[in-house]
Amino acid sequence: MAFENNVDVEHPVHDVRMAAIKNFEEKGFPSKKEEAWKYTSLNNIQKIDFSIFPKQENSLEYKDVKRYFIHEIDTYKIVFVDGIYSSYLSETTHDGVDICLMSAALTKPMYKQVIDVYFNKIASKDESLTTLNTAFSREGAYIYIPKNKMPKKPIEILHFSTGNEASLLLQPRNLIVVEENAEVQIIERHQSLTSNEVLTNAVTEIFAAKSAIVDLYKIQNDVATASLIDNTYVDQKDKSLVKIHTFSFGGKLTRNNLNFYQNGEYIDSTMKGVTILGEKQHVDHHTLVHHIQPNCESHQDYKGIYGDSSTGVFNGKIIVDKIAQKTNAFQKNNNILISDKASINSKPQLEIFADDVKCSHGCTIGQLDKDALFYLQSRGIPEKEARALLMYAFANNVLSSVRIPELKARINKLIAKKLGVNLGFDL
């Protein structure tokens, strides 16, 4: 890789990048020999010759991509096309809050203080894919919400790939800083518009200060040639509340690494997911909650429905440090297999060093309840629709905490579409 030829050696974070590339060169892509990658192979992806710096800028018409936005409501938009910022499709702001670009934040003096304090501070410095991103990333979303502020509307971060390269590697880098008692709602989506190969290796750092509230919704419904590795790192201070919802309905290979670090007391960390897969799709949810201080809570609730030859992984790691007494950590992973060829590997990983804690985990893998199916059919609802209704009901309690009604309606439509039914009403 002609790294030095393509980067600005005078760049303020150049040293950080050099350390990162060194780490990646030593470690390389993770292999299935590593415990954390046992069920997800990157072999086929590594064989592809990806372009890492797209040659030309591509423009998209809003009308062609409108359906990927939550267009029913007004939102701030940070939009990238083939990794390059699209000012035409975006709506950023500096009105009391900063909702703009990582490239600007990394280079302009006015952001230097925030970058010095937060950039690459919670992201791993030895996990190879994260360091690959740190080395090569140029662009992404920069969101800074000062104390006591809340943006007037939700923020959408969209990454489109147009397929003008035969295969493209995108490495977006997001920094989200939410100061004391501030609040933000973010919707994130990666969308390929062609059948050319695309791999996205994204890193997002989130810092939630005292009493901050962060809602992040990840919509993963990409085409069969698009893969995503999402590395999200969350640093939480006292009384902050961070919720991440992950809706995985498509893509070739999706790996979600969500890492929460509770650096304070009375923190609430919540991760919820609905995964509905078919064909040969693969989704791997790897979560980590590190309870570092006492009196905190974490809640995880992942529901999965696997059809055709799809495969899923759930690996939920909870670490409770010795001083983190009065921790409440809950984890649930329920799965339904609707095809004999589909499979799921579900594994809780609890490392508890404190003695006064409440931790629970539960994992189920099953089929649809026959009695429930008969109940619906006996009311005249055909088997296919009855199955869809039951699957919807199964996933429903994950949706109940989605706080943007239009987003919830959109997710419901995606679920109905994914289940292949029209029930005559909006779910």
């Binding site: 429930a372 109940y375 619906l376 006996s378 005249g380 629709e385 029930l423 005559g424």
Partner: protein
């Protein structure tokens, strides 16, 4: 209307129904009574087409048509209704949306357009008043967090909405307090006509004070061992089921 001939049915290889014969004509109310485990709920499930049960012999006919190989949803479209003893909870789907889906699926099967929203609302209003169901109740998720009584009342509301030809009420009286029982019974009585039929499955005579049957059948070990008029229910209430077991043993 409904004709059951020499019906045998198994569940997991075990024979539960061992030759049931029963004819229910339009306008009639039949009560099927019997001790626990006698096969009452199995009979109800088999009529409604539950394929967890295997019919090994005999037949069920609705208006002259053999229902063998007819799916539960098609039976519903043809006018069979089963009020469940344990209705299933469907989180996220409101009572109203559930009924819309059920009614429109039935109309679709008959080649009809969806019911216009205005007519649907009117129908829902009429039928919910009949069962003294509060409006707010209709926007709640189906059966989720409902009390036992609410679930049963909701079953009869669904029956009122779907207007079946043959309604089988499986232990609708269990878990109902006396006020709820009166409302449910009065609803069923108002829905009764010369063109439809009701089969009441019950352990106790209590419900039959409110919905008066034309015939009472006693089920024991998968067979109807005695049939009679409404006075048979009183006799059973007085003497219990042991008396009957002895009589059939002789």
């Amino acid at each position: 209307m409904l004709k059951i001939k020499d019906l045998h049915a198994n569940v997991e290889g075990k024979e539960i129904l061992r030759g049931i014969n029963l004819e229910v004509k339009a306008g009639e109310v039949h009560a099927i009574m019997g001790p626990n485990g006698s096969g009452k709920s199995t009979l109800a499930s088999v009529i409604a087409g539950n394929d967890n049960f295997e019919v090994t012999q005999g037949s069920v006919e609705l208006e002259g048509e053999d229902l063998e190989d007819v799916s539960p949803e098609e039976r519903a479209h043809k006018g069979v209704f089963l009020s469940f003893q344990y209705p299933v909870e469907i989180p996220g789907v409101s009572v109203t949306n559930f009924m819309k889906t059920a009614i429109n699926e039935s109309r679709k099967a008959k080649g009809l357009e969806d019911m216009p929203a205005k007519d649907m609302l009117k129908l829902i209003r009429e039928k919910s008043e009949l069962l003294e169901i509060d409006r707010k109740f209709l926007s709640r998720s189906l059966n989720e967090g409902f009390s036992g009584g609410e679930k049963k009342r909701n079953e009869i509301f669904q029956m009122a909405m779907l207007e079946p030809k043959v309604a089988i009420l499986d232990e609708t009286d269990s878990g109902l307090d006396i006020d709820a029982l009166r409302i449910v019974a009065s609803g069923v009585n108002k829905l009764k006509s010369k063109d439809n039929a009701v089969i009441l499955i019950t352990h106790y005579q209590r419900l039959l004070e409110y919905i008066v049957p034309d015939f009472v059948h006693v089920l024991h070990n998968g067979k109807i061992v005695k049939s009679g008029g409404k006075e048979l229910a009183l006799e059973l209430e007085e003497k219990g089921y042991d008396w009957l077991k002895q009589e059939t043993a002789v």
